[in-house]
Symmetry: C2
Subunit: 145 residues, 2 copies
Amino acid sequence: MTALGRHLILELRDCNPERLNDLPFIERVMLEAARRANATILSHQFRRFEPQGVSGIVIIAESHLAIHTWPEYGYAAVDVYTCGETLRPEVAAAHLVKALECSRPYVISIKRGLLEDNTVARPQEIIRLDEQGLGGEKGVAQTVL
Amino acid sequence: MTALGRHLILELRDCNPERLNDLPFIERVMLEAARRANATILSHQFRRFEPQGVSGIVIIAESHLAIHTWPEYGYAAVDVYTCGETLRPEVAAAHLVKALECSRPYVISIKRGLLEDNTVARPQEIIRLDEQGLGGEKGVAQTVL
């Protein structure tokens, strides 16, 4: 079924809290994730909150990447939303999981823009990443739901 | 179950194509949506694509709002992601549905940041908006899945 885009929703628990609070680090890995997804980066904004936490958006020609971190919980919420056939959102996801030293990542993949009939966007899969990352790299994605 | 945030994923089909291609209009309604959600707006960026389409992000202290439009399909993909107890993402969603003259809106609501146990973020509901918008305003939200 044709979809205009794919939206990976990453729930990243048990990350390295120090990395989650390091704005320059977060900015660097998010931009690198966008590049690895083959995205065209248009602009980006990152911000550190007091006493802790980082938020950031990377606007790409093919939609966006976003991150919000809670170092106090070792948790980051990440969105990798891409349009087009040539992009590799899974590779971006795998890069972020590894960079944030996340040991308990979950990913929901949603097809956005299913225009035919009365189809509704609904989660296509919920996948748990193994230690090597997602199928887009050399790892194996396992369906858990 | 406690969640750090709520993420409304809006699939807005059968919108007014002219409005979807009007950058100043899209910017205005997205900022108004953020205000109606009780969000604290930190910054925003909007961009028009050639030959058509608009993308925009509103960074709020409580996460973000995003929009990507395809006027050629009458379609907009919108995310309203908020954290905190006092925010009203449904009200933002209802405002956007009305402003874009969307006659076929669908919303997926996902709880983000479920930190207990091994719970995984999963869609809690898929709701179809009626003509009056979501339950946050005076409309009635119907569960369709």
